[in-house]
């Protein structure tokens, strides 16, 4: 038995190695391929890339990661970066790469599809979708008259141990970046200190929503679409909760712009620009309206999914997306002991 056993194992490993080796060699470099560093949701980008490949025949490879780590990675890679396109969920990482001087200009026709508030004035990248900050709360634990009036309220002692956020995620860090841009460093520092005392840190937005739903805490700061997606599907993680939109240009009413840009170092500028043009086009934006991502379209005059409150009704603070400072936010959050 023992002798038979090892022969089988050796044989299997040899066969598998051979298979793997041949498998690797067949996927040789295709010049028509583009590589996307993708921090957007994997499934949304997949919908985009599938439609794009079908229309143009250009194949797309995706490296999945978070906004900030991919942004910093591109900077570390510099002109050797293998990436052609960078897509994010939020704008701070786009600003990071833009400030490092690593983006090409986006084609004028593509920029023209997107209203000014969803792109930087420099034209180095373009907005591709938008998402609103919300407070998701457990309706059983938090009556309407006890809801916070502002995101800033959550630093008060009465909120100790009652709210949650996904502190390590780019989503939450974009909200902090907006707070920093809107209210300055002192207010942000004080708020983060209050957060350190009060908040229960979750892995990500989905976990915050789930925790609020099961009543582990009263509520949490997330983006709107997590809730609408769950409502559209099983409601399993949101049926005990509601959303509070802060409005009033509160820091908690911040609308975050997802961005896309073409890297200067890319040797496939034309295909990369084609891809950005595609997702900003009517067809690309309709994916946001008709698909199950529940993010807001920003371009080509495509309306949002009818389940969502209109973007214009959210009364978001006006913040230049290229002014959001990811590095400073990481530093402040590290100082506050949140990272």
């Amino acid at each position: 038995m023992a002798a038979f056993g090892w022969k089988v194992v050796t044989g299997a490993i040899a066969a598998i190695t051979l298979l793997a080796a041949t498998g690797c060699s067949s996927s040789s470099k295709d010049d028509n391929n583009i590589l996307i560093y993708n921090a957007q949701h994997e499934d949304l980008t997949k919908e985009w890339t599938d439609a794009f490949t079908k229309e143009t025949g250009i194949k797309v490879t995706v490296r999945q990661g978070g906004d900030t780590d991919l942004g910093n990675q591109i900077i570390a890679e510099g002109k050797n970066s293998p990436a052609d396109v960078f897509l994010t969920e939020n704008s701070p990482a786009m600003a990071l790469v833009e400030n490092a001087g690593l983006f090409s200009d986006v084609d004028k026709d593509t920029l023209a599809l997107v209203p000014e508030q969803f792109r930087p004035s420099t034209g180095k990248w373009v907005g591709i979708a938008a998402r609103s900050t919300v407070f998701v709360y457990n309706t059983g634990k938090l009556p309407a008259d006890q809801l916070p009036h502002s995101l800033l309220d959550l630093q008060q002692p009465q909120w100790k141990g009652r709210w949650s956020a996904g502190a390590s995620g780019a989503d939450f860090q974009a909200i902090v970046a907006a707070l920093l841009a809107q209210k300055g460093e002192d207010v942000t520092k004080a708020w983060l200190k209050g957060m350190k005392d009060n908040a229960i840190i979750s892995q990500n937005n989905t976990a915050v929503m789930k925790g609020a739903n099961t009543g582990q805490f009263d509520g949490g700061v997330i983006y709107h679409y997590y809730w609408f997606r769950d409502q559209a599907l099983t409601k399993e993680n949101s049926n005990n909760t509601k959303l509070l939109f802060f409005k009033n240009q509160d820091p908690g009413a911040f609308v975050s712009t997802s961005g896309g840009g073409v890297l200067k170092s890319s040797s496939k500028q034309e295909n990369a620009q084609k891809f950005l043009a595609f997702i900003a086009s009517q067809k690309g934006q309709e994916v946001l309206r008709d698909g199950d991502s529940m993010e807001y379209p920003v371009a080509a005059n495509v309306a949002a999914n009818p389940a969502l409150p209109p973007l214009a009704s959210l009364d978001a603070p006006k913040i230049d997306p290229s002014k959001l400072d990811a590095k400073k936010v990481t530093q402040l959050m590290t100082e506050a002991g949140l990272l």
Binding site: G23, L70, I75, A76, G169, A207, T214
Partner: protein, 514 residues
Amino acid sequence: MRTAVAARADRSGLLLTIVALLLVAATFVPLGYIVSTLLSNGIHDTAQLIFRPRVGELLRNTVDLVVLTVPVCLVLGIGLAWIVERTDVPGTGWWGPIFVAPLAVPAFVNSYGWVSAVPSLHGLWAGVLIATVSYFPLVYLPAAATLRRLDPAVEESARALGSGPLTVFVRIVLPQLRLAILGGGLLIALHLLAEYGAFAMVRFDTFTTAIFEQYQSSFAGAAGNALAGVLVALCLVLLAGEAAARGNARYARIGSGVPRAATRVRLGFNKIPVFLLLAAALAGTLGVPLWCIVRWLRIGGSKVWDMADIGQSLGQTIGLAAVAAVITTVCAFPVAWVAVRSTSRFARIIEGANYITSSLPGIVIALALVTVSIRWLPALYQTAATVLAAYTLMFLPRALVGVRAGLAQVPVGLEEMSQALGKSGPVTFFRITLRLTAPAAASAAAMVFVAVATELTATLLLAPNGTRTLAMRFWSLSGELDYAAAAPYALIMIIASVPVTYLLFTQSRKAAGV
């Protein structure tokens, strides 16, 4: 004639020694990198990043976790081993492999099982629970093997001299289990320091989860490296503590003859409660994750079996794991050769160095390789070569254990005879040494294969573009709380690990029979 053969043997020995030395030096690249960045960041800045409240919190969390989990695992592992090996509980033949089987369930899959069964699970106690159900077999396995081998004569003498069963257990049996206790305990403690996915899922912060968060926020920034430095220091403290506690006591049986099998304790009326105890342990360890996976598979129905996605992930996982298994096992040969065939102080150093490397968490190795490759070896950056290098560094010690045991059993006389008959070193190696060590090498390779197939952190940081291994897909889907879609990936990872778990079990039996 004799001198020519000896000289040739010496020459090939020297060559192997140099190769082994280079390999061991390579294993120090990550450690060296972390230390050098900490120094080059300036003492002041580094001190600021290390001596801050957050590090204190992480330290407390991590220490609490180790201090609570290791004893619980020891009690559970040794208790179960004693019941299974030494009592007449019903189904003794079945229980043996059952408590090794949890090793086939990756810790982050266990976490997934428990979190979907008890959604509010979080914090320190959740960490302790998940770590215990995932890692107690690391004590159970050596404890059961030792109990099997123990000479019952000593215990019987103690009994005859009037000691009660409890005294016999504490004064005779437990000291004999010291190696199993220390070795298993150390292994568990090191796993606790390195684990990422399982603790991230239950919101329990350790150094490893915090390093990962820093990486997500700043990609190999100074703060992440500072945390990695503290984590390395913790590992070294554990290693030193274990080495000091091990001492030089003797455990082998002295005198001629073969030990008999021990007579099993008759449980009598306690049979049923003890049986229920074992059943409860089974339900808590294997039952929860398997039940949850089956439940999610049923809820998800056929649409979670996206065969294109699963097939691609499976192919990539098998490819990476197989290549890593071969490379790592090949690399283990020269190091094992030096460790087995040489009694010099150099051989001891190589063995010791290997322990230090094996204690480095994957995240530290990955963090170092990301930065080293991006700065100095851009051609290797983000290629399969880098991630394979990380796997080799991480899992070389596992391969080494197997290969070394195999090499130790090859009679040197056979090799010498072959060389005396005029065969060259390589021919001798392939015809004699390799043939005789092949079973050990195959099990070493299989061990590495499974470790790679379920590896998460290094793969997340280093994998080539377009890579989506089973573990990566599982992690991304379960992170989005799409537990149903994650279930097929969890199931496949467990199935892939079963053969090696079985191998571990039979090996431990064999070792006990020696």
